[in-house]
Symmetry: C3
Subunit: 264 residues, 3 copies
């Protein structure tokens, strides 16, 4: 069992700035969850400032949930700047596999940008791994093959950390594989939990360059918050506000004590 708590306590101490270029559906939730984990969110996309804003940040989160051509330009500009500075880039390829526009854009991003963490659902990660996978809108359909092996192989090929979210999240850097088992089914009934997970990973990656463990720590902390939020939640609305409440109080010790992370 890995002791991942220090990643969470470090975020709360260092309050890194997490720069997002993300979709307009869940952007407010991303901002607030970033504050809850103890980091500071900024959303900025203009060509005129995106590189300057990146230079201030500790991590860059790119999320293609409401992609268009103008946003691609901006994401590459920000991504190149982050690359030059050695900043971790977290990519959430929302809907890759649903349309060829998203698939191709996500493929270009993993090829041309130094992505540190690629986080998606089974359909998205399967698509980018070149496996037969199904994505309907922004939801994962089925995927053929073994999630653990697909995650590991894609991570190895990219030289990045890959996170395949699901009931059990799989995290791999191509070498080590971790399975993170915290979380609650309610998280799948709320729009934006995947996007929020990427924000949290960004906050953790900003303070530790061990992206495998910072990803596992982030999603474990988020999963613990989800479990606590689900207790007594009457439905998705009360679950949501409670998720923020609990994310704001999960400590490094909680992650060490309640985290269910298996190293394969």
């Amino acid at each position: 069992m890995e002791m991942l708590g220090k990643f969470i306590s470090s975020v709360r101490e260092k309050t890194p700035l997490v720069h997002h270029i993300t979709n307009y559906v869940t952007v407010n939730d991303c901002a607030n969850i970033t504050l809850c984990i103890g980091a500071s969110p900024v959303m900025a996309h203009a060509e005129e400032e995106v590189e300057e804003m990146v230079s201030m940040a500790g991590a860059l989160v790119l999320n293609i949930g409401t992609l268009d051509s103008q946003q691609i330009t901006r994401m590459f500009l920000a991504g190149k700047a982050a690359g030059k500075l050695g900043l971790p880039i977290i990519l959430d390829p929302v809907g890759a596999g649903a349309t060829s526009f998203r698939t191709k854009t996500a493929q270009r991003m993993i090829q041309e940008l130094p992505i540190s963490v690629l986080k998606g659902n089974a359909g998205e990660i399967g698509t980018l791994a070149g496996i037969q996978a199904e994505v309907r809108g922004v939801d994962s359909g089925g995927m053929s093959g073994d999630p653990v092996e697909i995650t590991r192989i894609l991570a190895e090929r990219l030289g990045s950390t890959v996170v395949m979210s699901g009931v059990i999240d799989v995290v791999s850097d191509g070498n080590c594989i971790m399975q993170c088992e915290n979380g609650h089914p309610f998280m799948g009934r709320l729009s934006g939990t995947g996007c929020m997970a990427a924000s949290i990973i960004g906050a953790c990656a900003a303070v530790f360059s061990d992206y495998l463990r910072s990803s596992a720590a982030g999603i474990t902390a988020f999963g613990i918050a989800g479990e606590r939020a689900a207790a007594d939640a009457a439905g998705p609305g009360s679950f949501k506000y409670r998720l923020f409440d609990h994310m704001a109080t999960v400590t490094g010790d909680d992650v060490n004590q309640y985290g269910r992370v298996r190293v394969l």
Copy 2:
């Protein structure tokens, strides 16, 4: 009394994909309410993918709440694609009557796109019916004339279902007229309830092509959720999270038992 419960239970069974091109003010609420009714939301607007995304969906919701010229192009692209596929299109002409830009765009949409359900407040529907009506910002002012007759005549003229929202919602396909009486004044004190109603109608229309009844079923289910959410709500903030909680649990049986729908 119509038995409309089957529309709701069908949505929960079939989980249709509801494609939205909508405003950036209430888009998160639209996504979450779509999940609560048991459907799956997707928001996508890029010219490069909008037709491909439509081809996956069960319904298309167009909402002009934060309209601009680029969005018009995208809405027509999506709308034409939906039309070819026989997909229901739900149009929410937010602010028609407030500015000539919105009025003209909404008029063009009902003329050039095969709208299945046009849903607006009295001012918006009155404006599109050519009646003296007042819209201030995105709120309905007064309207001269009989809401029931205006709704019916506009529906007849368009060959579509028209929903005029209000304390009592009027739904007509030009022939049959229904009055839906569920709901609560709190719904008017929260931004986005009108937009959410359109998402719910979209989910229902995706599973039954009887758009008159799927519209009435959707707004009735939403109204019941609103009534339940308002009980014990301390204000608009607690009403909002409770609205999602209750929308997630309203059943077809609830609609049959608690729905107050009068066929005129």
Copy 3:
């Protein structure tokens, strides 16, 4: 002690329309808080309608939180129209001082538009006052110099009301100085409270052209709501929904009774 309650009760009586051109991160919160104070929000940005929408409104709120070049054009179009009509313009220069793009745009706005109320944090106001100030992302870092004097001098120079938000908010029209002490630390842990404050100021400025006092009244009412929301809040999620609940019930009498406003 100023009696500022009448500003709040007037908003609730007159329900002014508050036109926003704002960021896509917190726009939903701005819409809902505007409803809670008793006003009516509208968000519209298209070149084709922005002047017509302004002509219907009681105030214009400009917020550069997710600025880009297209939005600048739109803001100037709306701002010039508001100026011609004598409408109050509230400017929230989010992130001025963080990037030169935001700094320069905010400087151009205060020079070329008849801003009635400029509201920002210490870093933003300090930057615009030409003081050594630090802004990290959209958060205020430090600032050298006396907040009260900087606020007063900038207000005098601009001929506007300036609000520097902080633990104690400073409001000045260049002549009179007020310190508003209501509020709660929770407000700093939630994304968008600054943006919401600008919406509330907009609502108050729409009904009284005494912008010094309408600003002080608005942030005092908001601060009282924040204090009430924080009592028993388990975290930022429950604080947030309670903030809307309490904003909806703060009365003019509450402001007179519980407001802590000192005139220096």
